[in-house]
């Protein structure tokens, strides 16, 4: 064990946004060990106030440049709930298909560009090109497929324009959907190449475990490995599912001095969200290829190694591609029809919840009778992981104190990266009132 360790990572690299790791060990005793989030607040909840219900999903999509479709979908669902709007089965299915595109796009970005350098022992994707060019080429190919898939359904790769409360402003043609299905089928061999490459370096994934609570969506009717419908469950909730309208009972947000982002807790002092949480709550519902991928890596329900979140993301890449092929067949079998999007303002309050690639995401809005927003509350997944990251640190550091300072730093950084945090999204301001 080292008597003296002093680590100040300011900021962690290959994550979205700014987070610091501070470690001070003196005389073999841990004096400071903190996961800090110093990112400035973003004020989105204030920005949407007094804006029309029709504008909300467009504004909040800007919270993130990676999971903008997810934010738009959560907002659209919340607005529709507040206004009592129902959408058609066709709209619902196309939105889910759109959402899958973002899961693939975000996961492949994280697995291929952000996490893979750790597994291959290089500092970034740039040197990775020199040692694994074919794998990087494959990642680029899959990333392109996912981005163009988003383009087709969302109108843009990032910051969608086709979502409206009550429906979609544009739908793809049957020909485009058939082409997409072919493209997705052709992508499966590429996913296998990426999975084989990650498996070849899987020995570099740290073997660390800490029991915690895993929170995600769960859809029971019909049972689905859900990113979009259902209620909230957790590994500590005895299989019970609670309605998304009660999300505040889950998140219990609180302020922590070391973080500009709020922290959350439910049954314990922290919980985790993301691909591993979804897997731990729903793995029996994965598609056949998703199950095969999990088996390949020995990933089993109940896994509590946070470093395996990246593997769970890879498993989900297979799942969303296979589930999308099935979904496209379902859409095509009913035939596509143009639908008019109609909505009307009314006073109301509603919550919307979807799984972002990084975990469960909550949006809630209240509108006056003219449909103008009077209150907003958003809780994003990375918020919900901050306390869990801190608790992981507290278990991991004593276990690795015998290693060199550089190795300790790398392990802690890898741990943060395994959560695929989107720190810029997770910071939001305390409740403030503007003096008029």
């Amino acid at each position: 064990m080292h008597n003296r360790v002093n680590i100040n990572v300011h900021h962690v690299t290959r994550v979205e946004g700014h987070g610091n790791i501070v470690v001070n060990v003196a005389d073999g005793r841990i004096e400071t060990l903190q996961w800090q989030v110093p990112e400035a607040p973003r004020f989105f909840e204030a920005m949407v106030r007094e804006r029309s219900y029709e504008d909300i999903q467009t504004i909040v999509s800007r919270i993130c440049g990676i999971c903008s479709i997810t934010h738009s979908l959560a907002a659209t669902k919340a607005v529709e709930s507040a206004l009592g709007l129902q959408v058609s089965e066709q709209t619902d299915k196309i939105r889910i298909l759109m959402h899958y595109s973002e899961q693939l796009q975000s996961h492949i970005l994280h697995v291929g560009y952000l996490a893979a350098p750790d597994f291959f022992g290089v500092p970034s994707v740039v040197p990775l090109v020199a040692i694994a060019a074919d794998v990087v080429k494959t990642v680029v190919r899959v990333h392109r497929v996912a981005n163009e898939w988003s383009d087709l359904l969302a109108g843009r790769t990032t910051h969608p324009v086709t979502l409206r409360p009550g429906g979609l402003t544009r739908i793809p043609t049957e020909k485009q959907l058939r082409q997409l299905k072919k493209t997705l089928k052709d992508t499966v061999p590429d996913l296998k190449i990426i999975a084989d490459a990650v498996l070849s370096v899987a020995a570099n994934i740290p073997k660390f475990e800490r029991q915690t609570e895993y929170v995600s969506l769960k859809q029971t009717n019909p049972p689905t490995y859900s990113f979009y419908h259902g209620g909230i469950t957790s590994t500590d909730n005895n299989g019970q599912v609670i309605p998304i309208e009660r999300w505040h009972e889950v998140t219990n947000e609180y302020v922590c001095p070391q973080s500009t982002a709020k922290w959350t807790k439910w049954h314990r002092d922290c919980y985790a969200v993301g691909a591993l949480a979804r897997f731990n709550n729903n793995s029996e519902l994965l598609s056949p290829m998703g199950k095969d991928a999990a088996k390949m890596f020995g990933l089993k329900k109940g896994c509590c190694n946070p470093f395996m979140n990246t593997v769970a993301q890879l498993v989900e890449c297979f799942h969303v591609v296979e589930a999308s092929i099935v979904l496209i067949d379902q859409i095509l079998s009913k035939g596509l029809k143009e639908e008019k999007v109609t909505s009307a303002p009314r006073a109301g309050k509603g919550a919307g919840c979807v799984e972002a690639p990084r975990g469960i995401l909550f949006h809630e809005y209240e509108f006056d009778k003219d449909g103008n927003c009077i209150a907003a509350d958003i809780c994003i997944p990375t918020n919900q992981n901050h306390a869990n990251i801190q608790k992981d640190f507290e278990k991991l550091l004593p276990e690795i104190l015998g290693q060199s300072e550089n190795e300790i730093r790398l392990k802690l950084e890898m741990l943060v990266r395994s959560y695929d945090p989107c720190i810029s999204c997770s910071t939001h301001m305390l409740n403030v009132q503007f003096v008029r």
Partner: protein
């Protein structure tokens, strides 16, 4: 979905439209897209702050024209045409984020992967104002037609 396996040309406009002149590349794509019928062999793409996505947007193209705001130590509003070999980046990268990319580095990765376009041309436009704001500075706004002409000349 767009098929990039055939060798079409691409024009990418880079930048952040919320930071006034920093978004000039994107403003130009909006103008150039209106002329699309004159250039059927060209995809005009608003790449915004796309970061690593630029890799697959330019991969295997015949020609890639990249328009971006550039600090070149010239007078504000100046447009300069150059190839990747004519410049070196002095941008400090921290690898904090996938949004934080150095376009020259991405072009380098593309070359290393053997997927570089046959020809890459940059148009750098010297900013007047890089600060929060959605409008271009008057200096750049007054010259938008010149910029469009310069890019169109490159495509014919």
């Amino acid at each position: 979905m767009t098929q990039h396996t055939h060798k079409k040309d691409v024009v990418l406009g880079l930048g952040n439209v919320l930071m006034s002149d920093e978004g000039v590349g994107v403003h130009l794509i909006a103008r150039l897209s209106a002329l699309k019928k004159n250039f059927p062999h060209v995809d005009f793409i608003d790449a915004g702050t796309a970061g690593m996505s630029v890799l697959h947007l330019i991969a295997n193209r015949r020609k890639a024209v990249i328009i971006d705001c550039a600090e070149m130590q010239t007078a504000p509003g100046t447009i300069r045409r150059f190839g990747p070999q004519q410049v070196k980046s002095v941008k400090t990268l921290t690898h904090y984020s996938c949004h934080e990319a150095d376009i020259l580095q991405i072009v380098g990765i593309c070359r290393q992967l053997g997927q570089s376009p046959d020809e890459i041309i940059f148009f750098g436009i010297e900013p007047q104002t890089v600060a929060p704001g959605r409008a271009l500075s008057q200096t750049l706004a007054d010259r938008l037609d010149d910029y469009v002409d310069a890019v169109c000349k490159e495509l014919t």
